[in-house]
């Protein structure tokens, strides 16, 4: 098997609405290699979560994939029949979500939920399952596993729920973990703990991760490579260090500049205007109406990603120097 673990090419997603067809993803290209942690950043509504849901084929009507290709471990996920897809979900790709407590079944204890999952995927039960459940609790550094396994989700803190959620995700030994804003709802201290836990999982298990976030601090902390998303497409990809040191897409630069920092006024003004309506995308580059570097060409032609170096692309005619 050659090629990246997860390969997304030209992924397009549309939502049929009463006002017309909303083009939410207009051609997303993204790779995640084995054991690699990739960040996917962008503002709310740019299509980060939709990308993740489309990969797992969990989009609900009226959303539908209208084009593109998703390959995972050499298999075309968009063409896979539903029973085959069930084997990919959980065992191949696991996903954790923003509100961990809402993602746990409120009427079942954590131990029961782990037990159900282990019985289904690993076909273990009884003593072996209990031992594995305890092992998973240790893996995600849940204190006092006995108590946690007997607890209902509402009896645990947000951070503990997220750890339990990660334990559930790890129960099936996935090759890729998608974390959709997994730390957003948590306190900053807990957020850091979870990020360190995720990093530890990469080091010990070689677990590849796609970390979806709007928080550039999370990217800096957790990821090796970043893809910046704007209005349903990837506008820049780079190694984390390069991106922070020298952003090339004007949007990335403004996004970085808009971060609050201690002791310094944010440099430059906020990005004017707002994210384009997916029902009425501007012609040419989707960012040009808000771009300070825009030229007439930007409003006429849609830029293709330009390769600037290994793993470094930018979708812009006039990138930042």
């Amino acid at each position: 098997m050659s090629g990246p673990l997860l390969e997304i090419r030209g992924l397009r997603v549309e939502f049929a609405t009463p006002r017309g067809v909303a083009r939410v993803l207009v051609g997303v290209d993204l790779d995640v290699d084995r054991g690699e942690v990739v960040g996917l950043v962008g503002e709310s509504g740019c299509g980060k979560s939709v990308t993740a849901l489309a990969v797992l084929r969990l989009l609900r009507a009226p959303g539908r994939v209208s084009g593109g290709r998703v390959r995972f471990q050499g298999r075309d996920l968009l063409a896979l029949p539903e029973p085959g897809m069930r084997g990919v979900r959980g065992r191949g790709i696991a996903m954790i979500f923003q509100a961990p407590r809402d993602c746990l079944n409120p009427v079942l204890t954590i131990g029961r939920q782990l037990g159900l999952l282990l019985a289904r995927h690993d076909r273990v039960a009884g003593g072996a399952a209990t031992a594995r459940a305890r092992e998973l609790c240790e893996m995600v550094e849940l204190p006092d596993p006995e108590r946690v396994l007997r607890a209902y989700p509402h009896e645990l803190s947000g951070g503990m729920c997220q750890r339990a959620m990660i334990a559930l995700a790890l129960a099936c030994r996935p090759a890729l973990l998608i974390a959709d804003e997994a730390t957003t709802a948590l306190d900053v201290t807990v957020q850091l703990q979870i990020l360190l836990l995720l990093r530890g999982l990469r080091d010990t298990l070689g677990l590849a991760q796609l970390i979806i976030t709007h928080n550039l601090g999370v990217v800096a902390e957790a990821c090796q490579r970043v893809a910046v998303m704007y209005a349903g497409e990837i506008v820049e990809t780079a190694a984390v260090g390069e991106l922070f040191a020298a952003p090339r897409h004007p949007y990335t630069r403004r996004l970085l500049a808009a971060r609050p920092r201690i002791g310094a006024a944010p440099d430059g003004e906020p990005i004017p205007g707002s994210v384009p309506d997916p029902l009425a995308r501007p012609p040419g580059c989707a960012f040009h109406p808000r771009c300070h570097r825009a030229q007439p060409r930007c409003g006429e032609q849609h830029p293709e990603p330009a390769v600037l170096g290994p793993g470094r692309t930018v979708r812009c005619y006039y990138p930042e120097p």
């Binding site: 797992l56 969990l58 029973p83 979900r89 809402d102 079944n105 409120p106 289904r120 995927h121 559930l168």
Partner: protein, 270 residues
């Protein structure tokens, strides 16, 4: 485990007492409920007959105790039948959505368009007066209640993040429905079933009272009130009063229990 409040305890005590009486009727009743004795007809309450005697000299106390057996059986049967049928229809409608949902729910609307009692009356009259028919008639009028409740529960739970998460770890939809969604729909349904049991007793008594349920001389509370109604104007109030009291106590007990269960079943208070 939170402690039960006094009202719920009362409801639970009344309900348990009723169930006990129903189970033990042959042993706790002092007389045969069918035994008649023209010589002691229409006696007021006394030590020998604490609830008095009826038109044919039957012992009202014994008949009220035996009545618990029949009325609880009708309530449990009707509610159980309605719950299983309505719950299944509601779950299918909520989970499948689309045309299935529309078809099933408009059917339920048709049933609900008639006043409850009139519908039960019509069904009972069409089927003919008998115990099984009475149960079916009451159950059918209650099916929409459970169907709607179950559908709304499934609809809200279906879009809950944990349902998506369950699909996300590779569960097929059927498994998500049975293992994850249905257990989250139980508590309001159980509460409704308890409250509805009280109504079922009222409906059963009502139908029997007008002669469309079980027949004289069966010891059933509605039948007994029917038998005593002519006597009330003659001052012999006890013939209708005690079965009426039994209905009231049973309905109050089930309602208190239902209200209490509502709080108690909330997983956040466990």
């Amino acid at each position: 485990m939170t402690r039960l409040d006094p009202a719920t305890c009362g409801g639970l005590a009344i309900t348990l007492a009723l169930v006990l009486v129903a189970l033990l009727a042959p042993w706790v009743a002092p007389h045969d409920p069918y035994a008649t004795d023209a010589g002691r007809a229409l006696r007021p309450p006394s030590l020998a007959h604490p609830f008095g005697t009826g038109v044919f000299g039957e012992d009202i106390l014994s008949r009220v105790l035996w009545g618990a057996r029949l009325d609880l059986l009708i309530a449990a049967g009707a509610v159980g039948f309605a719950l299983v049928l309505g719950g299944a229809l509601g779950a299918i409608a909520g989970f499948a959505g689309g045309l299935t949902d529309e078809g099933l729910m408009r059917g339920m609307d048709v049933l609900q368009a008639f006043p409850n009692f009139i519908l039960a009356l019509g069904i009972a009259a069409a089927l003919g007066p008998s115990l099984p028919n009475l149960i079916v008639a009451i159950a059918l009028t209650n099916v929409p209640v459970y169907a709607r409740l179950m559908r709304s529960q499934v609809l809200t739970q279906r879009t809950a993040p944990y349902a998506l998460a369950a699909v996300g770890v590779g569960n097929p939809m059927g498994r998500v429905l049975f293992i994850h969604l249905l257990p989250n729909t139980w508590s309001p349904i159980l509460v409704q079933a308890t409250l509805q049991s009280g109504w079922a007793i009222l409906q059963a008594a009502g139908l029997s009272f007008i002669g469309l349920g079980v027949r004289v001389p069966t010891p059933e509370w509605g039948v007994m009130i029917g038998m005593g109604v002519q006597q009330v104007t003659a001052g012999q109030w006890w013939v209708a009063f005690f079965p009426g009291l039994a209905i009231m106590v049973a309905v109050i007990g089930l309602n208190l229990l239902g209200d209490g269960l509502q709080d108690w079943l909330d997983p956040k208070r466990r």
